[in-house]
Symmetry: C2
Subunit: 334 residues, 2 copies
């Protein structure tokens, strides 16, 4: 168990290392000089005003149709760009920059799939890198695999981790796994500086290609990812909705086809709280031992006992994620 | 070509027979005495007020989370319970009783699947009954099969047909097929009175199990459907969302298992404009020649040329519709 420092937060002691992108090291409360984030009001919940009507949470975006859902008990700002909503149907909802990121009752398909599609496709993953995913859910799912020895997670915003510890402690528990190193910093820069050929799998659990996550959809980032992966290593990245973003998806696929010489695949799944109800993934492998993503070789079923059953993912769902509707198949495979 | 009367609507002459539930026969404008619907303002578009904010269309329901989407150019009442919304993303949207029923750019998965899941599963369908589906899209998809000789469609509300002729004429064109008989009346009563063993397939394209469509989810209706089907005949009914309505789905499945002695299956697909982004179907067959819904025997691919390609459905999508997430599989198969 490699620990750089203890992380004292809300009275619990955890084993997570936190390394800031500027090289400084801090505890989980994010109170470090030189960090660009606003930590001043992180524990003050203030009324959320970015709504078309009080009691409703609204998403406004150039990337998807503006829409609103009714919220129940509260709809509060944790920080200017982080909102916690209580929804009757979906339970607690975390939004970043005005977009729903995670919901208690509807977020699990996204996370189970972004983890088990790649890790179910290679025999014995040992070293995994997660970019984004500060809520800790992705980490929780990765840590189910006992073959894994090392998990690095690079989250650009330590306050997201704090929010998860406060509102979703059962997810943030993933940070306490002794195999985990949390790096607070820029994911693209981290991958670029990573040891070549180091990781078996890289999971890019990013937000959308506007704002801070923009670089994570560009070719230089994919090139850095390919370099950081071992031969026959795999990457899974969030890749938008076939209903709304086919122009973006085609661009991402074209980039991946130039960079990843093993295989390049598009998969999708349903997420009830995302616009259009679906989300896609790019599944790519580097040149080396062949990876057939469409036929999982590493069944998670045998590992799930200690952390409770999976709610969404199973081997058949894995295979069906690569089956596309005709309009999307024609555009993606052309 | 069997025609009872010509249907003059918007200057076009069609071959559809329209038989009212009270036995009277009328043209497509719905102006018949003794019909219980409100025809007075059918051609007057008035401002729609059932919205949380002007310029937004809102759904309020006990069955799913209240939500709103921004509408663009207009948001108008066609009749007190029929609304036409213009959405940037989804094009023209038809709502009935405050719930989105059809969208130009996002409605096709629902309709292609409710038709081709059952008709793709039997070799040469000849006689098909559609209950609901007054928009005409279901009819349009059914009429792709050249083996089909007779299509009966029972729509409770003739104004829905009028609205489709006005706003979605390319869908309503299905009513002009000479194989079609349109019956304006109660679907449950029609099925109960149907000739036993008459239909190869029955498609129940209903709204939700509150209000007028409630009977279409109850056991007496399923018993009438089973009786109206030939041995080894098939039914496909709309069967709600696995995210929200598992209690309803379990009840529907239990009813179907008691009634349909061939096979009983649950399938699902994605529809971007429905709450939670998914919709389910019950696929059942009567005792007789075996029907394996999970392996389509009747490929629609060879028939599609004359009516343009399918956008969503293909044989692989057909098979994958029966693959369920773990939580739903455990509940449905228990």
């Amino acid at each position: 168990m490699e620990v750089m420092m203890n992380n004292h937060n809300n009275g619990t002691t955890t084993n997570t290392k936190i390394i800031h992108k500027n090289g400084s090291i801090c505890n989980g409360n994010g109170n470090v000089n030189g960090n660009s984030h606003n930590h001043n009001n992180e524990n003050k919940l203030v009324e959320f005003t970015n709504s078309i009507k009080p009691g409703w949470f609204s998403e406004f975006s150039a990337l998807w149709p503006d829409h609103s859902i009714k919220s129940l008990d509260y709809n509060k700002l944790y920080r200017f760009d982080i909102n916690i909503v209580q929804s009757t149907t979906y339970g607690k909802v975390l939004t970043l920059d005005g977009a729903i990121q995670h919901t208690e009752n509807g977020g699990f398909p996204y996370t189970e799939m972004i983890v088990h599609l790649p890790l179910g496709s290679i025999p014995s993953p040992k070293k995994v890198l997660i970019i984004g995913g500060g809520i800790g859910f992705t980490l929780f799912e990765v840590s189910r695999y006992p073959t894994i020895e090392k998990i690095d997670i690079v989250e650009i915003d330590d306050v997201v981790v704090d929010v998860s510890r406060k509102f979703f402690p059962y997810l943030a528990a993933g940070f306490d796994d002794p195999r985990v190193t949390l790096i607070i910093g820029d994911g693209a820069a981290f991958v670029k500086a990573a040891q070549p050929g180091y990781y078996d799998a890289i999971i890019v659990d990013s937000s959308d290609p506007i704002g801070p996550a923009k670089d994570l959809f560009e070719r230089p980032f994919f090139e850095a990812v390919a370099k950081a992966l071992r031969p026959g290593g795999v990457v899974c990245t969030q890749a938008e909705s076939i209903w709304l973003h086919m122009h973006l998806i085609k661009k991402i696929i074209a980039n991946c086809r130039q960079v990843f010489k093993g295989s390049v695949n598009y998969a999708w799944t349903t997420v009830p709280t995302y616009p259009t109800g679906v989300i896609g993934y790019m599944l790519c492998s580097t040149e080396g031992p062949e990876v057939n993503f469409k036929n999982p070789v590493n069944s998670i079923d045998k590992y799930v006992k200690s952390k409770g059953p999976l709610k969404f993912y199973n081997s058949d769902i894995h295979k069906s994620a690569f089956i596309l509707p005709s309009f999307a198949r024609d555009l993606i495979e052309s």
